[in-house]
Each structure stands twice: as C-alpha cells, then as structure tokens.
C-alpha cells in the first residue's frame, strides 16, 4: 500500500513538472504561430492535466475530510493551491477551450470581457508553479531539502511572494476590466467596429464591397474575410485552407454591420497576452527557483543547520561536533548561541561524560531484538 502511495506521488510530481512545461508551451504556441494541429494537442493536454489535478485535489480533500483533517489540508497544507490549480482552471480554461474546439465556435468581437477573463485565467494558472514546492523533497542533493524547518520556511515565503504576484495580476485585470487602468482590448475592438462600418459604406454591391474591403485591409492586417450577409465571400486575405490550418475557434472575431459580415484576426491580441504570460511565468519561475536554490541554502546554512547540530549534540551523548561559525555571521543570534554551545555546553558535556556515563550506545534496542530473532 505504501509503495502504491509512493508510486502515485511520483506520478503527481512528474505531472507537476510536465504541467509547467505545458503552461509555457501553451503561450509559446500562440507566440510562435503554431498550426491548429499543434495547438489542439496543447488544448487536449491542458484538459488532461486539469482533469488529473482536479481528481487529485478531490481525492486528497476527500481523504482529508474522512480523517477530519479537511481544514488542515486546505489551509495549512496548501490544499488551496491544489484547488486553485485544478477546478477553476478546468471550468474556466481547458474545458471551454476543448468544447469550443469540438464545436468549432468562434468569438464575437466587441465582447470586452474576453481578454480580461483570459488574463485572470492565466494569472490563476501561475498558481501551478507553487506546486513546485511539493517537488522540493525530491531534490535530496539540495543542502536544506531534508530540513523540515527550512522546507516549511521556504514554502511559506515562496507562497507569499507568488501569491502577491498572482493577486496583483488578478487585481490589475479587474482594474483593466472596469476601466481604472486602460487596456489594449478596448481600442482594438473599437477600431474593428469602425473599420466594419467603413467597409459597409461601400454598399451591397459585391464588386464595390470587395474593392472597399481590399483598400481597408491593406492598412489593417486583422481583417480576414468580408462577405455579404448570407451571401458569398467578396474578399478574403487567405485561401480557405489556410484558415483551417492556422485558425482555432477564438482566433477570429466576427462583426455584422449593415448587411455585411466582417471576420477579424484576434491573434495579435492573444499574442500580446501570451507574451505577457511568458514574461510573467518566467519571472515567477525565477522567483520560485531563487527562493529554492539561493535563499533556502542560505537559510539552512545560517539557521537550520546550526540548530540541527546543536539539537543532535544535546540529544545524543556521543555526538560532540562543534557548530561551524562563519566569521562574517558570528554576531547573528543563532551563531552567538552556537558559540556558547561550542565553548560552554560541549566542554561541560565532555566533563560529565568522563564522570561515569561513558559514550552513549550507537545501538538501538530494535537492532538488538532483530539480532536476537535471527540468533
């Protein structure tokens, strides 16, 4: 049973690492203009990961509730991170995308909330990075990885830093949505409405409409297709096959004005969001890695390691190693305590040890029972 648990935990850890790669690829695929085929894989993989982590969260939460540890799991053992990085992403991000892919549906331009929703989702998605904290224990080579105190401290400070970044992004998206901070989506969709109206001014005649569309499309690269309402396409930027190969639902917007339908390329907006997403993602990953690999070893060196050595020296009578005191840190409280341990406690312990106690046994009672059973 324990081995099954360890195997499942290993699967979760692998999934955590893969989902981070996926998060980066998700944005990169948009930035690099991947084809529909490649991006569809990303969408399906995202759905798979979110389903996996939703099941994982629900299982953990159920087990915690069964043991009356639900509150402890959710708040103290960072169950809220598991929650944030699973159910909301499934319901708001991967599932709608997958359904849209299945239905082949597009978006209607001018719905101002789309971009903000996307940004909120991307911000919440960053919470996935916090799962890295669970992977820390795998890095046994890291100096502090075996110290629960160092792990707990670094987890807390990392969670605070990433949470602030995520919450700030969420807040900024909300402020953009209500107009406190000007966003790029408003001018973008307003421009589309104006250009659709300008194309409509050419009248219903296909030839005039096509000429007008071509003239405006020459200065606006986001105009993709113009057609009479319910009628034939009068102008198109690309051959029909190109749309099938490079446009997913959500990559284009649609406006109807005066009996004319205009399809716009929404990808420049998505590219802008993806670029921001990658920059934000990399910044957060670097923050987390800096805490894990730069700050945590320093914490271990300056706090938890000396305490560990002193604790062993006090608990084990045959453990008499001194605490190493870095000269530049000698005035830190911990090292002042360590200096007392070295100069007062250990010599006293040595004297007591030479008054009849002798060294403590390296053997444990359990060792002896095992030996007796075998003899």
């Amino acid at each position: 049973m324990r081995k099954v648990g360890e195997a499942l935990e290993a699967v979760v850890v692998v999934a955590i690492i893969l989902v981070l790669v996926h998060t980066l690829l998700d944005d990169y695929s948009i930035l690099a203009g991947w084809s529909v085929r490649g991006r569809s894989w990303i969408i399906w993989a995202g759905l798979g990961f979110d389903l996996f982590f939703t099941v994982e969260f629900l299982t953990r939460f159920y087990l915690a509730l069964s043991n009356r540890q639900g509150v402890k799991y959710f708040f103290r053992e960072r169950g809220w991170i598991d929650f944030l990085a699973s159910i909301p992403l499934l319901l708001l991000n991967s599932l709608p995308h997958a359904l849209a892919l299945l239905a082949g549906a597009g978006l209607v331009s001018g719905l101002g909330s789309f971009l903000n929703v996307l940004k909120v989702i991307k911000a919440v998605r960053i919470a996935r990075i916090l799962r890295l904290l669970r992977v820390v224990k795998l890095f046994r080579g890291i100096r502090y990885a075996r110290s629960p105190m160092a792990q707990g401290h670094v987890s807390t400070i990392t969670t605070i830093a990433v949470s602030i970044l995520v919450l700030w992004t969420l807040g900024a998206s909300v402020m953009e949505g209500v107009g406190i901070i000007p966003g790029i989506e408003g001018p973008f969709s307003q421009g589309q409405v104006l250009r659709a109206a300008a194309i409509t001014e050419a009248g219903p005649q296909p030839a005039a409409l096509a000429q007008r569309a071509a003239a405006i499309a020459a200065v606006d690269a986001t105009i993709l297709v113009v057609r009479s309402q319910g009628g034939p396409v009068v102008w198109s930027r690309y051959a029909p096959a190109y749309y099938g190969e490079y446009f997913l639902p959500g990559d284009y917007g649609y406006l109807q004005s005066g009996g004319v339908e205009v399809f716009f390329d929404e990808r420049p907006l998505a590219v802008s969001v993806a670029r921001e997403g990658i920059v934000f993602f990399v910044a957060v990953v670097l923050t987390v890695l800096a805490f894990l690999f730069v700050y945590a070893p320093r914490f271990a060196l300056q706090i938890s390691d000396p305490i560990h050595v002193m604790r062993r020296g006090m608990a084990e009578s045959d453990y008499n190693l001194e605490v190493k005191i870095p000269r530049e840190r000698a005035e830190d409280d911990v090292f002042e305590l360590a200096a007392l341990y070295n100069s007062v406690y250990l010599p006293l312990k040595d004297r007591l040890g030479n008054e009849g106690r002798g060294p403590a046994p390296a053997l444990k009672i359990d060792d002896l029972q095992d030996l007796a059973d075998k003899s």
């Binding site: 190693l321 605490v323 004297r351 007796a372 003899s375």
Partner: protein
C-alpha cells in the same frame, strides 16, 4: 525456559552478530565492546524480550542474562582484539625509535612479544582494559602519523618540546613509532588499580600520581625485561596530569592526548552540514578542558590549529 547456560549457542551467535552490526562495524574491538556493554547496561530492563528470544532465564530480572551476554561479548572481543594486536605489532609498530632512546642498540627480538604480553595483561584487567580501549583505537588509526609530520613542518611548540626540551633526536616517523609505543604501554599503569564492584569506564583515563608510578614501575619492568625501564616509564608517565607536581616529558603528554583522542575516535562519523570536523571539534573542546583532564593545553592548541588548517 532453559536455565542460564554460559555456553549457549544463541547467546554466542548473538554477541558475535551484535559486534558486527553496521553501527559498530567501523570501531576498534574494545570500542565495540564499550558500546555493546553500554546498551546492555543502560537498556537492561527494556531488553527482557531480547533475552527471552535468546532462551535465557529472565525470572530473576535482567542482570543475570545481561551478565551472560556481556561475558560472551568480552569473549568475542578478546578474539578480535588478539587479531588487532597481532596486526599492530607486525605492521604498525617497528621499534624504529629504539636505537635513539637505547644508546644505539636495536630492539631485542623479544620486545614485541613482551609488549604483547603487557597489553594482554592490561586487557584482562578491568580498569586497564578500559584504558586500552582508547590506546588501541589510537594506535590502530592513522591519527598519530597525521599530526606529527605537520608539527615537524611547523617547528613550533610540539617540535620544540620534543627536540629541544626532551632532547629526542627522532624523525617524524620514529616519533610516531615511539608515540604509538607510549600509547600502548600506558594502560599498564592501571594494572595495579583495584577495580570497584562496577568498573567506571573513565577509570582508565584518570590521572595517576608520580609516586604511585615509581612504585609499580619495577614490577612492570620485571615482566618486560628486554625493554628499558626508562622507555616503559614513558608509557606509564603518560598518565600524569599536566601541569602537575613535576615535569612530564613531551612525548608522554602527546601520548596522553592521543589515547584520549583514540577513545573518542569514530571513523564512520558523518559530519553534518553546519558542523565542524571531528578532530577540530574534539581538540577545541579539549583545549577548554585541558586542566580538567590534565592534558597539555598548548599542545592541544597546536594540534587544533593543524586540524583546522587541514580540514580534519
């Protein structure tokens, strides 16, 4: 339940396996014994199930079965120690120092056997056996060879005390050999101590008096006739406290430090992150306790510096 049987096969097997457990594997035989007996002494009452598993009679408490196992442990350790001493005398002690301290003559052929007999007598005496634990561990290790060449290069306190004050014209290798000899003779100083009902493990490390040593020297010298009395006396005088009533030769002071260090040697010790190295830690603690143990503080200072410089 079988009656207590001193030849019980499971007990003997248990003692043998106990001494070979990973926790003790890297230790010298007498250090293993000390650890094994300690665990019996400290945890005796909790070990009744263990004694029962071995088929021992526990109806009268834990002391009888524990004593039986202790005897089996000592028997095993005696055999292991005999092998260690043979190895030591054949490969690690060459008496290369002998001509320099015995007027140019080579060590007699019987010297090693007489030393072996002296060590064996110490091993059979409860208090001297305790002293032998540190001495043997130090003599079997490389700790003496590690420090003396370094001290010779430094040409400071240790070098000056040996060459100018004690006037011993020895190479580092010969001084290492002499120190090993001193360390091995040292337990013989406790042969005339009457053990109490229970032997204090530190009895073999308590400083002795010069007058007492003068009294026991003839008796010890009579059992090792091929070894000069002055040479044997160096080993005995390593038990004197420094600074004491009189002067103590530098090689004796060094022997005392090495014997004490040998007692605390643990080759398999894992140095935790944030901890100092074992030698450096030990010498630093002993610098502070030098007077308490009657060790030479300045010599400890120098050995501490050598340990610190070399990361030992």
């Amino acid at each position: 339940m079988r009656a207590v049987d001193s030849t019980s096969e499971p007990v003997s097997r248990f003692a043998s396996r106990l001494l070979e457990t990973p926790a003790l594997r890297a230790l010298a035989a007498l250090q293993k014994e000390e650890q094994a007996l300690n665990v019996l002494r400290i945890n005796g009452p909790q070990l009744l199930p263990v004694f029962t598993s071995l088929g021992l009679d526990v109806s009268r408490g834990w002391r009888e079965p524990a004593a039986l196992i202790s005897r089996a442990i000592r028997g095993n350790v005696d055999r292991m120690m005999a092998a260690e001493i043979s190895d030591l005398l054949s490969a690690r002690l060459t008496f290369s120092f002998f001509p320099a301290v015995a007027g140019g003559r080579q060590a007699p052929a019987r010297a090693k056997e007489e030393l072996r007999a002296l060590i064996s007598r110490a091993a059979a005496h409860p208090v001297a056996r305790s002293a032998l634990a540190g001495s043997l561990a130090a003599a079997l290790s490389d700790i003496i060879e590690k420090y003396i060449p370094q001290a010779w290069e430094r040409k400071k306190y240790l070098y000056v005390e040996i060459t100018r004050v004690q006037r011993l014209a020895l190479s580092p290798a010969d001084l290492s050999d002499l120190t090993r000899f001193v360390v091995l003779v040292r337990p013989a100083a406790y042969l005339s101590i009457t053990p109490g009902e229970t032997v204090d493990k530190d009895a073999g490390y308590a400083p002795l008096q010069e007058q007492y040593l003068s009294k026991i020297l003839p008796g010890i010298a009579s059992q090792a006739r091929s070894l000069p009395g002055a040479l044997l006396n160096l080993g005995l005088r390593s038990t004197l406290a420094f600074p004491g009533a009189g002067s103590v030769e530098a090689v004796c002071r060094l022997g005392a430090i090495m014997s004490m260090r040998g007692r605390a040697l643990s080759p398999a010790v894992v140095v935790d992150r944030g901890a100092d190295t074992p030698d450096k830690s030990w010498f630093n603690v002993q610098r502070r306790n030098a007077r308490w143990h009657g060790l030479d503080g300045r010599m400890l200072d120098e050995l501490y510096t050598i340990a610190a410089e070399n990361g030992w």
